[in-house]
Symmetry: C2
Subunit: 143 residues, 2 copies
DNA sequence: ATAATAAAAGATAAATTAGTCTTTTATTAT
DNA sequence: ATAATAAAAGACTAATTTATCTTTTATTAT
């Protein structure tokens, strides 16, 4: 559904949200461990997320990644859009560029309905909302 | 959502279904034109679809691709599975391999619901069912 | 049998995505 | 000021996906 980069981005951001709520800034190494991702790769991704304002970062001792209030309220959909673009929310299921209401592909209408539901679901899911379940080991970000 | 290969495979199969209903076998060149895909690439893809029994083919003069009765009843979901595997119907939204009912990722349950709906929709969509709308230019397979 | 046709097969190339490693810059505590 | 820390930046490699081109095999009509 999403690119690997996007999957790592989502896991990392949720992980950072959790740590932020615990009052910590968190370094790349711990993030990589915490979400079971290649360290250097997640570093690249976080660099990009930081540039885009999806996560916040501080250099130097006591530095690391964290989320400010606005970032905490972001939705999964926001992150997906920022990383993979909105192809998954907008694009034609059969890959047609011109596919639209007036020139629909054979599955356009049904597909649109599903995509809409996907978007609504991901848009409702706010990054800051997963902390409690993670703390209580009801949900996981590894393996 | 799907790979390019899969998108072309779906368009090609629906196109072949239409031609089959018109009583024609159809060659690679016409298919490529009919679905606006690179000719050599769709040739490769059809070769694979043919091996998998998703489309039927005949070599030599008057040869070409067509669908037998069973293939005509296949669903979009069947083709997606054959080409992209069932990652899109089964896989974790955050890319976790172990994600399951007992070890769910933070969005597991909601995601599952959407994926289910996607599957049901694509499973209901039978390859042979799109012909009429295509004939009447109510739907399209190009651009 | 032969020539023409059309898919199958195979080999290669280009583009994109995923992943790694090294160097630089900014920040902090001493 | 200096050393330590940690992210940012940049350069590179590997793998996968997408795409192209050539040769072979099967079939049909003459």
């Amino acid at each position: 559904m999403f690119s690997k980069t996007c999957e790592y981005a989502l896991r990392a951001t949720i992980f950072i949200a959790q740590k932020t709520k615990e009052g910590e800034r968190i370094g790349i190494k711990e993030i990589a461990k915490g979400i079971d991702s290649p360290e250097h790769f997640i570093a690249k991704i976080l660099q990009d997320l930081s540039r885009k304002g999806i996560v916040q970062s501080a250099k130097g001792p006591n530095g690391g990644f964290y989320l400010d209030k606005a970032s905490m309220k972001q939705s999964i959909a926001d992150i997906v859009k920022a990383v993979d673009g909105d192809k998954v929310f907008q694009g034609c299921g059969l890959g047609l560029k011109q596919c639209s209401e007036t020139e629909p592909c054979p599955i356009h209408h049904e597909f649109k309905r599903i995509r809409k539901q996907l978007f609504v679901m991901l848009d409702k899911s706010k990054v800051g909302a997963f902390t409690e379940a993670l703390e209580n080991s009801l949900t996981f970000l590894k393996r």
